[in-house]
Symmetry: C3
Subunit: 149 residues, 3 copies
């Protein structure tokens, strides 16, 4: 069973623009950096930010945090990237998403994939606001910038 | 030789919004689930839906249906995912795209990649409506939601 | 240190539509084909085109051009694809991006990832116009088509 809260409660008011909607599908570790950056940058500029998490990316938002694989082609570059991130003092992606949320962003888990993976709202950490369907996400994303990560 | 039908015939009338345009590029099996879901959900809500298929994703739309690889990093999770899809009674992606088409969605094959891969409209199954260029797709996508899967 | 030029100088004037903004993140060789095609097709149609390069994709724009890996799942198809590209006389992606730039497109390197990877504007080849932040890119992309490649 999937718990779905009323979308109207959790989506920001629709203004037809000045909005960033991100489908977070990619489950490899590298893709969570642009997720965090786009969410944080958009929210910091006063844009509405909504993240719709689906596919293997859902595993990164569970309480029992899964270790995310690095893309096979770039696995050997992972240590240098981590070192560069630390040197440049880049916040971990969770912190960037959390900052975005403090500025009004919302994170939604895909109801269909939750059912496929046997996950409910209780299985996610506090970054996830609710479980909603793709139709609700698409309807809300209208008029704004949309990215499939 | 690539057979290109007149775009005006097959694209839905342009209304400047309420529209979802998807570039379907990813050729791994997992990416066809969000393709089906976004297309089906958008069409079910009365949105115009256009899918522009390019790259290795074209192989999934040929009559001689190619077996799609699973992403290398998640290959071991493929059986559990398939089992979850069956348990949650999620329709195969082809059925979701077909339902979207019954509600007005269109599927376009990228003319350039068709030429690169030696494919013509006759090589595709009936999900593909026509072969068009990227410029036509981009022009039509204006004013709507756009995703690169 | 990252050199950042004034965004106002290099972004095309904002018209609220008729615009294509691409986040170029994917670092595998195959993704540079749709990048080139979308950029070239958009620019050829008179659309504003902005490319925001980040992640491993930055390595493809350095003077010391890095060899890009092919996605692990499709590595064995790389030779056939290269042959098809040659037969169809498809221009290399660099040429397509260059043509787009001659028609007004701009290429921006992500300031955060430049810092992470220790790159400055001087490290890039002449395809890159400047180094800007994600917030600037997001702000400029409003009202147009947006793709995350």
């Amino acid at each position: 069973m999937v718990t779905t809260t009323e979308a109207a409660e959790v989506f920001a008011p629709q203004r037809g623009g000045n909005k960033v909607s991100i489908v977070m599908f990619g489950g490899t570790a590298d893709k969570f950096i642009p997720l965090g950056v786009l969410a944080q940058a958009g929210a910091a500029m006063g844009m509405e930010v909504d993240i719709f998490v689906t596919g293997f990316a859902l595993l990164a938002f569970t309480k029992e945090r899964h270790e995310l694989p690095f893309p096979a082609e770039f696995a050997e570059m992972a240590p240098a990237l981590a070192e560069g991130m630390a040197r440049a003092k880049v916040a971990p992606w969770e912190d960037m998403v959390r900052q975005a949320k403090e500025l009004g962003a919302h994170v939604h888990a895909c109801s269909m994939m939750c059912e496929v993976m046997g996950l409910t709202l209780e299985d996610f950490d506090d970054l996830v606001d609710d479980v909603v369907g793709a139709a609700t996400f698409l309807q809300h994303a209208e008029g704004g910038e949309t990215y499939f990560v």
